[in-house]
């Protein structure tokens, strides 16, 4: 399927996925498809209690079931704790349980049915503790403390914490209190967004195998073999050299598989039994025990002058952390960083609290807090436009960040395609030509707009490029392709950098033993950060190739160039050239040694300029590289029921450079539909601490009939100067503006401003009827 010539398969080509053939034939192996000889199957025993002390275990009956090899409880696990920001989470509940569904014991047996049957026979004695089901409960003066040892936990950033508040963050610029006086119009409101399930179609799972020396190999559904390694080793107190992490194909992540799930459990079972152990969660367990998007409550206030100039914003957010910290401090900090939006607002004060509760842990989910705050802030931009009688698009254009403007907090923005995004979305949607086609009978129809930005630069990454004896190439980055297509994109970059067709580049599967460090496939970062390493490592290889050629041709390195098809030649002399085979053979057998290019780096641009901004408790000191976007959504509302449907969308996204336009469109389209689900139908419903809809029957994501077919992806390319071929991230931004754009369309169609997601038929109908009765 890979076309033979460089141009058709390199940067800019919509090359089909490298693994497309494997996937369409059903041969691609995911974790649940993997089997090892003599493998045991595991099952968890989950806590029925939300908050309780564990006072005893009785595993006798479970252990006696024929076929059961091992039963482990918290007593059989070391005392280590893991956590991306706050080390607060044991591998399995120890001493107490903090949410319903938390694993309390695990069983390994000859088959899965036996393991599940035995797990149900484990008896655990609990002493119930008072429950804090919501942040309000948990911040009440007499609230039960969920983590008594919070002050003593190790934290990777200067966390401001206490009681049930896991982290408190503030970020401010300007003088907000004084600025309100300058405002002619001020809008204020409270917004609420629910927990959203990632709903990767593949449930999580892991398989661990131990060798004769006690070293463990671990395969799992994951977004970073290195985060898996770090988490498991922290929780189980193992040296990292004793654990090798690998990955099969991953059935999507969206943040769900970035931090640990069941990996520590299978490793401990493998260590105890000496046999390979596999654990695959069923869908209900996956819903209840993995993680989900944080519920947010946001108070937001925005002020502007009569001419539409935005002056000030104040935003405060309360995040339900759930029972463990996971990625949550990062989500809080990042959401505040995004809360000014891509606008010039000189005075901004933002703050947030992340509050432990006795619910399942919440964590990273595509957008990382940005969709929630963008729903609030972009709703208010429309409200201000309404109050001033301005076109919402004009108001955005008037206030948008211009090239050279800095991000909120003072971070540098090297490329900014926002103006083009807004202009192209507007033109394509016909915004200025009457804004919406006529609605069918019984429906109301309107367009809604939202703009946003998202980062793609943070943390560490690397790449190793090796030239094989025959002149073909192996690329090894350690970045897990979770289905979004990074293997293909990185291969295309490597191929273009070395001017070989993509099918001459093999990409190694991530392996903590052999791959360079990669923090993870998350935060829209792989194309930009790992891509930079790929280009740099390939550059080293190119230099080596030229050095060999210079020695052979007895010319200067500067006189040489790489040529399509994998050749190196003297500039201006077409027939003076060598194939990579000739160069690599020389390096392998005669001179210099095999050619390997390697690069590692860590993103080090500060998020905050202390001269401009005040930041407290911010967990990401170094973050940046901004993609921009503008989305316009056409929504139809059924006047009988209030049901809102997004019927068409124009999503213009600045990706710097589209390495693989087909893949970029896939991210834009998939991001929109996931954001549309968040806006319209998806909600994890809780009864106190308990999730009451942990099944696909009761939790509803869009089907092919709910998603609009007319999703128009508009690719804008404002090249990032130091990006690989100019590229920056696209993984998340396509989702971010969707709830706000849809909410603004609903408001335009009904006259009702709804500040709580999802925009269910019930809420929309009530809003529509109220607003009609006011008219």
């Amino acid at each position: 399927m890979s076309p033979p010539d460089t141009a058709a398969s390199g940067v800019g080509a919509s090359l089909p996925r490298l693994d497309a053939r494997e996937k369409v034939t059903g041969r691609a192996q995911y974790i649940a498809d993997m089997v090892r000889p003599n493998m045991l199957h595991a099952a968890i025993h989950a806590s029925p209690a939300a908050h309780a002390l564990i006072t005893g275990y009785d595993t006798a009956e479970a252990s006696a079931v024929p076929g059961v090899a091992c039963v482990l409880t918290g007593d059989d696990f070391p005392d280590g704790r893991m956590g991306a920001f706050i080390k607060d989470e044991p591998a399995i509940a120890k001493g107490k349980v903090r949410y319903p569904g938390e694993p309390v014991a695990v069983v390994a047996a000859e088959d899965e049915e036996t393991a599940r049957r035995a797990a149900a026979l484990i008896r655990v004695d609990y002493e119930d503790l008072p429950v804090a089901a919501t942040p309000d409960d948990a911040m009440a003066p007499d609230a039960p403390v969920i983590h008594e040892d919070l002050p003593d936990y190790f934290k990777v950033f200067p966390a401001i914490c206490g009681g049930n508040v896991a982290s408190e963050t503030e970020l401010s610029e300007g003088d907000v209190d004084a600025a309100w006086a300058e405002c002619d119009v001020i809008v204020e409101g409270e917004f609420e967004t629910p927990a959203q399930a990632h709903l990767s179609i593949e449930p999580v799972g892991a398989l661990a195998e131990v060798d004769a020396d006690g070293r463990v190999t671990l395969w799992s559904a994951n977004q970073s073999v290195f985060r898996v390694q770090a988490n498991v080793c922290e929780a189980l107190q193992l040296p990292m050299s004793k654990l090798r992490c690998l990955t099969p194909k991953v059935g999507a992540g969206f943040g769900n598989k970035m931090e640990p799930h069941v990996q520590p459990l299978v490793v401990q079972l493998a260590l105890k039994t000496g046999r390979p152990v596999r654990l695959i969660l069923n869908r209900t367990e996956d819903f209840e025990t993995v993680r989900a998007r944080h519920p947010f409550k946001i108070r937001c206030k925005t002020g502007a002058k009569r001419d539409g100039t935005l002056v000030a914003r104040e935003l405060s957010a309360i995040l339900d952390c759930g029972a463990y910290g996971d990625d949550s401090p990062g989500v809080l900090g990042y959401s505040l960083l995004m809360s000014r939006g891509p606008y010039r607002i000189p005075h901004c004060r933002t703050s947030g609290k992340l509050v432990y509760t006795n619910r399942m842990r919440f964590g990273a989910f595509r957008g990382f807090g940005n969709p929630q705050v963008t729903f609030a802030t972009e709703s208010q931009i429309d409200e201000i436009a309404g109050r001033l009688g301005m076109d919402p698009l004009d108001l955005r254009v008037k206030n948008m960040m211009r090239p050279g403007d800095r991000w909120f907090g003072g971070g540098e923005v090297a490329s900014n395609g926002l103006a083009e995004c807004i202009e192209k979305a507007s033109a394509a949607s016909g915004w200025r030509q009457g804004r919406a086609r006529a609605a069918p009978s019984g429906k109301r129809r309107a367009l809604g707009v939202a703009a946003c930005a998202h980062i793609s630069g943070l943390l560490a990454t690397g790449a190793i490029v090796r030239l094989l004896e025959d002149g073909s190439v192996v690329l090894n980055t350690g970045a897990v392709d979770i289905g979004q297509g990074s293997d293909t994109v990185l291969t295309q970059m490597c191929a273009s950098a070395l001017r070989v067709p993509a099918d001459r580049v093999a990409i190694a599967s991530p392996d903590t033993d052999g791959s360079p460090y990669n923090w993870g496939t998350t935060a829209s970062r792989v194309t930009y950060t790992t891509g930079r390493s790929v280009v740099a490592a390939a550059g080293h290889v190119a230099e080596e190739i030229k050095r060999h050629a210079a020695e052979i041709f007895e010319c200067a390195v500067g006189d040489l160039e790489l040529r399509d098809g994998g050749r190196v030649g003297i500039k201006g002399v077409p027939d003076k050239e060598l194939s990579y085979f000739e160069v690599s053979a020389r390096a392998h057998w005669a001179a210099g040694g095999p050619i390997v290019g390697a690069d590692t780096w860590v993103y080090n641009q500060p998020s905050v300029d202390p001269k401009r901004a005040i930041a407290r408790g911010l967990p990401f000191p170094q973050i940046g590289v901004y993609s921009f976007g503008c989305m316009i959504a056409a929504v139809e509302i059924d006047e009988t029921t209030g049901k809102a449907d997004a019927v068409e969308v124009w999503s213009a996204m600045d990706v710097g450079r589209a390495i693989n336009p087909g893949s970029v469109e896939g991210q834009i389209e998939g991001g929109f539909v996931q954001g549309m689900g968040f806006a319209l139908t998806e909600e994890m419903v809780f009864d106190g601490p308990r999730l009451v809809n942990p099944s696909m029957m009761d939790y509803k994501a869009p089907t092919s009939l709910d998603a609009p077919f007319d999703i128009h992806s508009i690719i804008v390319e404002a090249a990032e100067p130091d990006g690989p071929f100019g590229a920056k991230g696209i993984g998340e931004i396509g989702l971010v503006p969707a709830p706000a754009a849809i909410g603004n369309a609903v408001a335009a169609a009904t006259g009702a401003r709804l500040r709580r997601l999802p925009l269910t038929p019930e809420r929309v109908l009530n809003g529509l009827l109220e607003s009609d009765s006011e008219d």
Partner: protein
């Protein structure tokens, strides 16, 4: 999930109190209650069968009286376990008695119930309806029994 309700019985408060704190009376009135025994004055054990459409379950339940304020208020907690099926119910119950205008008693109940494990996956909304209808049946049975007693039958 919370359920609440109230009903009137013809019997005076004292008599109602005796009935409502007598495990044998309660057991006879509770739909699906297969057996009940008093382990101590504040602890009862019972087997309770529950059926919802095609699903049936039998719980080994324990009722612990947490607070008693005769003859007006009793607070209890019920914990039930479905042996070997990893399914649990738990309910915090408050029962309040007050004299009614007609010389009878007004009985009010409030329960905060949680269901976990396999049964929790089945129709949250309908489960609540079922719990309400069980409570109503219990009230009806108790009412009938007390009214019968009050009328000297």
């Amino acid at each position: 999930m919370k359920i609440a309700g109230s009903f009137n019985v013809a019997a005076p408060v004292e008599l109602t109190w005796r009935a409502i704190t007598d495990p044998q009376v309660v057991g006879a009135c509770l739909p699906g209650c297969e057996e009940i025994e008093a382990v101590s004055p504040t602890l009862y054990r019972a087997r309770i069968g529950v059926k919802l459409g095609p699903i049936s379950a039998t719980f080994a339940a324990e009722v612990e009286v947490l607070e008693e304020e005769p003859p007006v208020r009793v607070v209890s907690v019920t914990r039930g376990e479905e042996g070997g099926r990893a399914s649990h119910i738990r309910s915090e119950n408050t029962l309040t008695l007050e004299p009614a205008d007609d010389g009878g008693t007004r009985v009010s109940y409030e329960a905060d119930m949680t269901v976990t494990g396999r049964l929790a996956k089945f129709g949250f909304g309908v489960m609540k309806k079922k719990a309400q209808s069980l409570a109503a049946d219990f009230a009806g049975n108790l009412e009938a029994r007390l009214n019968e007693a009050a009328s000297g039958g």
